[in-house]
Amino acid sequence: MLTAPLSRPSGLSCRQGRKGEVHLQPGLLGSQAQEIQTRWRPSPCFGAGKRSPTKMIHSLFLINCSGDIFLEKHWKSVVSQSVCDYFFEAQEKAADVENVPPVISTPHHYLISIHRDRLFFVSVIQTEVPPLFVIEFLHRVADTFQDYFGECSEAAIKDNVVIVYELLEEMLDNGFPLATESNILKELIKPPTILRSVVNSITGSSNVGDTLPTGQLSNIPWRRAGVKYTNNEAYFDVVEEIDAIIDKSGSTVFAEIQGVIDACIKLSGMPDLSLSFMNPRLLDDVSFHPCIRFKRWESERVLSFIPPDGNFRLISYRVSSQNLVAIPVYVKHSISFKENSSCGRFDITIGPKQNMGKTIEGITVTVHMPKVVLNMNLTPTQGSYTFDPVTKVLTWDVGKITPQKLPSLKGLVNLQSGAPKPEENPSLNIQFKIQQLAISGLKVNRLDMYGEKYKPFKGVKYVTKAGKFQVRT
């Protein structure tokens, strides 16, 4: 009796059944509407119904440089080794082992890998994870092997496979990192020593510690309790590496200093250290070890911390301001290839530049020569050189620079006959070392210790090295 509309726009037909059921007729919007309707049905989610997999790392494969999988560890269900085929495929595609991309996707997994000491650590991931998290963790695993076995190699890992397995189990639980600090791990699983393995084999005792790692729960998880030394020592190495690109004409395209302070602390009890600098203003881009009290640094520019026991990296820093980065060496070079001839000339000379009066030593020059170079006939004024005709790498071991007579390397380059003259100009990679100098000028002022009564022996060493130091020709 109420309000039945007198007329309806055509094309709208709403049917009503006896029980008042009302539903939309298709055709309301013509074909478009139908198209919507079909698209409204949710498309079946691929992989739906699968259980949610581990948050982080599902499995780990260790692969040597000849492509053998020599260790695998699964933190949940077993993933078949065949998943590594995708990795091998990528490896084949990349000309050089170093060029294998660190993140590879496969139909069901992601492979995140690192390349360390001629080994590949390949982890299998099933869900969205922060790749950096995984990469950092893998590096930590490699660091731990290095720390435990003295080297991170296939032989060392195979020699200690049970410890490796125990370590991996301790480091990751259900994909969550558990104990990655070397101090804690060493309390849980004792590192192998020759003496201990002999003793163990006689007494039948084990490598596994049976006490709770004390540091793990305190507010200073990086340090274990009850440390005792007869000689209390604290050493700091300030190591600076110069990364630079020098162009043809000898001017600096880019230069920065990557510095670290590595510490070796062997102090009893719970020492509280503070390290201050003569010129802390240099340090404006710094990464800290978790032990450093950030607030104290912010307000006073003093590094205040309770150190882990043993070797660790206290800070790393970067000095990028161009005028602060001194370039200690220069290179005079002339590399030329003649058109339509099978030889070329090669001549480089190295000299000191801003070396702050220190001796530059340990100089090595590495050059990747163009592919068409067959051989090189050179004469060094000092040191010795090698040329590998397969990889085309020229290495000149120079030694140290004596300003009176600058080292040089001259001679002829033999090219493949008939081949066109090489287009690219080889870059020179230079390595060097300067003792007792931090090139940025960073200087430690003093080290104070609180909390313990004894007098520690303290030492600071400085060294500057070339990092990625490249000269374009």
């Binding site: 109420l2 922060p130 490249q470």
Partner: protein
């Protein structure tokens, strides 16, 4: 004495020997045997046959042996579930061991045994361990909950472990907090809709405190969790940022990047005028640069993320160009990424440096890298206008090197430069033509042909050049063939006299001798055009082309915003949202950046907060995607077998029945179904309510002539609000409002294309709703919507659609389709668009009805701060179809008696009390369907206050 000896035994009877050794009486021998078993396991050998023998070794005091057996168990329990049960007792016992290390080890191992039968036994020990006095055990147990949830989610919920886990967020030990957060995040990932991590300022504070003290991994979990929180205002955002900033100096790059994510996200809420905003920008640069000095794998991930950050906030790294300069021994994947970022950072200030570098790279060894470097020069030219000339001359220098692939790449990019700067650099064409013969890649050939065709009038021997290509026409790739066809037609149109033969030749090659349908079609079109209307052909073929811009290689802004929320994850490496590639994307929540909010503005409701802040005005009615989809799906699933919602509602309380009944009648072809026993409509209501006044019957005219006249001006129209933000709809933004004018309702929509692609094929549909609102015509968008274009559409509505009671009553769920996807949103419509023009009730009838409606149906409301007097109120309401039936003055107060009728025939009677001195009115509403009262009151508010 090394373990490598375990690898050497490969004899056939190995398993048998091991079995014997495992069952040895000597402890030492047993342990050696277990070690051998583990060693075999690590290299993937199947030693599951030894299960019972290994499990027998479990009951031991030797911790190492225990650990080894546990390791074995975790690996093989799944394949030997019945055997694994044997181990349960030892686990339960170990969970009570006085040594916390053993307790933790036991609870950890139990969680890794993915056997359903065992999980039941696990619950009690786990409950104890969650409350263990030792934090080491608690933190291990927290992770165990996540493991258990993965095996049997229902069990975890039933046992109340989730609540215990939530309590652990307030634990005194930061490591426990971190693990609880990690476990909850993992569980939440499989339940996107649950608000397990229901973050509020208190819990945030706890997390921030724990952040300073927990391990680096814990920090990552906490930071990732913080990133999902939406602060209530800019002040809170700033204070969180301040506490997160120290993490930027952490040695662990994953911590740094997670902190960057939090900061990038919350920065969105800070006003750019704040000093703090500038400080934060400055603080972000150094840590990002530092990431580049790490190992190459880390660099790669960092660079992919920096690529996003640079697009979102170029100002952060604008002075850091040099750190992206490529070193020759960088891995290729790092080189390519660096190059990409260099172009993004290129600006007038640094272009000289960049070009010098790019030129250097173009002489490197690696071909892929060289090509990309050459392309990069072209992109710089397009991006930085002032540098175009320098870029072109750099490219010419490179062409002079005659290195084949360099020349080809250079020609491809020069074509792009021509498209960006027409009529500027044509002088170089001569140089390009010299290199014609060396081009062997399709893309380069096509580019060259395009150039020749485009500038045919300036190249004297254009016809010869093109002819030379024509010789091997059938051996060319499609790309080149198409380009050649077009180029020759262009040439013909420019120089018709000399090239007639050539054009005929190419047309016949394309149409008669080709198998490629695209080529044939294009050939025929040109042919037809040329033969019928050469002038039109000229207009078509030689039409002015739009300029290209550098935006083509930028990520779409909405996608970019989403990706910023995923900094540090795989999504950021692939530059795709997780929904696009994560397997089994279980309802992946789309994240969005929080909107900029001032402190005074209201907060979002907690449910919506974790998913980012919706920009809609009514966050509480936005259903989750899933719900809405379900509802809308009902629409096309065909008629339900027996009882659609309407049918069931008619047997409920009278009021609902009234609503339903009214609607039925509105829709019904068979009027006898209407008017149940409890529906007593006033006689006036018997008049059919017509929807369009223009189509009104004589009866309605008789009823009230004035009403139609009075509403000509139309009722109040709210300003347009954003209903569907671009972020949620792949770049389509919809805002709109509802209007009622002269009896017809319409939805005024404004569609804006914020994506980078053209949108077409729009369609709209409504879900069933309380008043049967439905589009009366299809959504007509006449032209395709190009990027950044906005179109206004008025969509007429009627009320004859399907009816379903919605919560709230005026909720409308809408689906909009375009060529990209279907999008869903919901909005609230103001009820006054449903007030019909014949809503004036007779005085007598009013009185009778008022008395007839029971008193419990009366609702009273206050309308505050309304400055109008009775007259003004009355006339204003009338324009929205609320009619004053009578007016009285009682003790100095004006009493207005009003009536209105809804489209489905429901009458609402109102008494409005206005005191001259008091700006607050009292509104009493009486209606047989009392649930509409609230909305009618809101309509009053809106009408009177606007």
């Amino acid at each position: 004495m090394t373990d490598s000896k375990y690898f050497t035994t490969t004899k056939k009877g190995e398993i048998f020997e091991l079995k014997a050794e495992l069952n040895s009486d000597k402890k030492e021998k047993k342990k050696e045997a277990v070690k051998k078993v583990i060693a075999s396991m690590t290299v993937g050998k199947d030693v599951s046959a030894l299960f019972p023998d290994v499990v027998n070794c479990m009951q031991t005091d030797n911790l190492e042996l225990k650990k080894l057996v546990y390791l074995y168990l975790m690996n093989y329990a799944k394949s030997q579930p019945d055997m694994a049960i044997m181990a349960v007792n030892t686990f339960v016992k170990d969970c009570e061991d006085p040594n916390p290390l053993i307790r933790a080890l036991a609870v950890r191992t139990m969680g890794c045994i993915r056997v359903d039968k065992i999980t039941e036994y696990l619950c009690e020990p786990l409950r104890k361990c969650l409350k263990d006095e030792d934090p080491y055990v608690r933190k291990t147990a927290a992770v165990c909950v996540a493991k258990l949830h993965d095996i049997n989610a229902q069990l975890v919920e039933d046992q109340g472990f989730l609540d215990t886990l939530k309590d652990l967020i307030s634990d005194s030990n930061p490591m426990v907090v971190a693990n609880a957060v990690a476990a909850l995040s993992e569980i939440a990932e499989s339940h996107p809709s649950s608000n397990l991590l229901d973050l509020n300022p208190q819990s945030i504070n706890k997390l921030l405190t724990a952040l300073n003290e927990c391990t680096e991994w814990g920090q990552i979990f906490i930071l990732d969790c913080l990133a999902n929180y939406t602060p209530k205002d800019d002040r809170e955002a700033q204070s969180i940022c301040e506490r997160v900033t120290p993490r930027l100096s952490h040695a662990n790059s994953a911590v740094v990047l997670s902190a960057v994510k939090v900061l990038m996200k919350f920065m969105e809420m800070l006003s750019k005028d704040l000093d703090y905003y500038g400080t934060l920008l400055k603080k972000l640069a150094p840590p990002l640069v530092t990431l580049l000095s790490a190992e190459p794998e880390l660099q790669y991930v960092a660079l992919r993320n920096i690529n996003l950050i640079v697009q979102k906030r170029p100002e952060i790294l604008k002075h850091e160009m040099k750190v992206f300069f490529v070193k020759y021994n960088d891995p290729i994947y790092v080189k390519l990424e660096k190059l990409d970022i260099m172009i993004r950072l290129a600006s007038q200030a640094n272009i000289a440096q960049v070009l010098a570098e790019l030129k250097e790279y173009a002489t490197e060894v690696d071909v892929d890298f060289v090509r990309k470097a050459v392309r990069a020069i072209g992109r710089c030219a397009i991006k930085v206008e002032q540098s175009a000339e320098r870029c072109v001359s750099t490219l010419l220098d490179l062409i002079q090197t005659k290195v084949n692939y360099v020349v080809q790449e250079a020609i491809v990019v020069i074509k792009d430069i021509f498209r960006k700067y027409p009529n500027k650099y044509e002088s170089v064409i001569a140089t390009l033509c010299e290199n014609l013969d060396s081009l062997d890649e399709p893309e380069a050939r096509a580019a060259m042909i395009w150039i020749v065709g485009e500038y045919a009038e300036r190249i004297d021997n254009a016809d010869e050049l093109l002819e030379s290509f024509l010789e091997g026409f059938h051996d060319e790739s499609t790309q080149v063939q198409l380009q050649l066809l077009t180029a020759i037609v262009k040439l013909f149109l420019k120089k018709p006299t000399e090239t007639q033969e050539l054009v005929q030749q190419v047309l016949s090659l394309a149409t008669q001798d080709s198998d490629n349908p695209d080529l044939r079609d294009r050939g025929y079109i040109y042919w037809r055009l040329l033969s019928t209307d050469p002038v039109a052909a000229k207009e078509v073929v030689l039409a002015e082309k739009p300029l290209i811009s550098e935006e083509t290689d930028l990520i779409e802004p909405t996608l970019l915003d989403e990706l910023i929320c995923y900094i540090g994850t795989l999504a950021s490496v692939y530059h795709k949202p997780p929904s696009a590639f994560v397997e089994g994307g279980r309802g992946v929540v789309h994240k969005s950046l929080p909107p900029r909010t001032a402190s005074s503005e209201s907060t979002e409701s907690p449910e919506t907060a974790p998913a980012g802040a919706p920009s809609s005005e009514q966050p509480d009615v936005i259903p989750t995607q899933g719900d809405l989809l379900g509802d809308l799906l009902n629409l096309d699933l065909g008629p339900p077998v027996s009882g659609p919602p309407l049918a069931t509602s008619s047997v409920q309380m009278g009021a609902v029945d009234l609503l339903g009944g009214g609607l039925d009648s509105l829709m019904g072809d068979e009027p006898e179904g209407i008017g149940g026993p409890n529906f007593v409509a006033p006689p006036a209501a018997a008049v059919p309510a017509n929807l369009g006044a223009s189509m009104g019957s004589g009866l309605s005219d008789l009823f009230d002539l004035t009403s139609g006249v009075g509403t000509l001006s139309g009722s109040y129209v709210a300003p347009k609000a954003v209903w569907l933000p671009a972020m949620k709809a792949k770049g389509l933004e919809i805002s709109g409002t509802f209007t009622r004018q002269v009896g017809s309702i319409s939805m005024d929509l404004q569609l804006t294309n914020k994506a980078l692609q053209v949108m077409t094929d729009f369609a709209i549909q409504f879900n069933r709703n309380s008043f049967g609102l439905a589009p009366a015509a299809p959504l007509q968008v006449h032209a395709p919507l190009s990027p950044n274009q906005t179109v206004e559409i008025s969509l007429p509505l009627n009320t004859v659609g399907s009816v379903m009671k919605m919560e709230p009553l005026n909720n409308l769920q809408v689906a909009v389709k375009n060529n990209i996807d279907v999008f869903y949103f919901s909005t609230l419509y103001p009820l006054h668009i449903l007030f019909v023009e014949d809503g004036k009730m007779d005085r007598q009838m009013f009185l009778a009805t008022w008395k007839d409606i029971p008193n419990e149906n009366e609702a009273q409301f206050q309308i505050r701060d309304c400055p109008l007097n009775a007259e003004a109120v009355s006339s204003r309401l009338q324009s929205s179809n609320i009619f004053t039936v009578a007016k009285r003055n009682v003790e100095g107060q004006d009493m207005l008696y009003q009536s209105l009728k809804l489209t489905n025939g429901i009458w609402v009677l109102a008494e409005l009390r206005i005191q001259p001195s008091n700006p607050s009115f009292t509104l009493s509403l009486k209606c047989r369907a009392p649930e509409v009262s609230q909305h009618v009151y809101q309509a009053y508010e809106t009408i009177l206050k606007n």
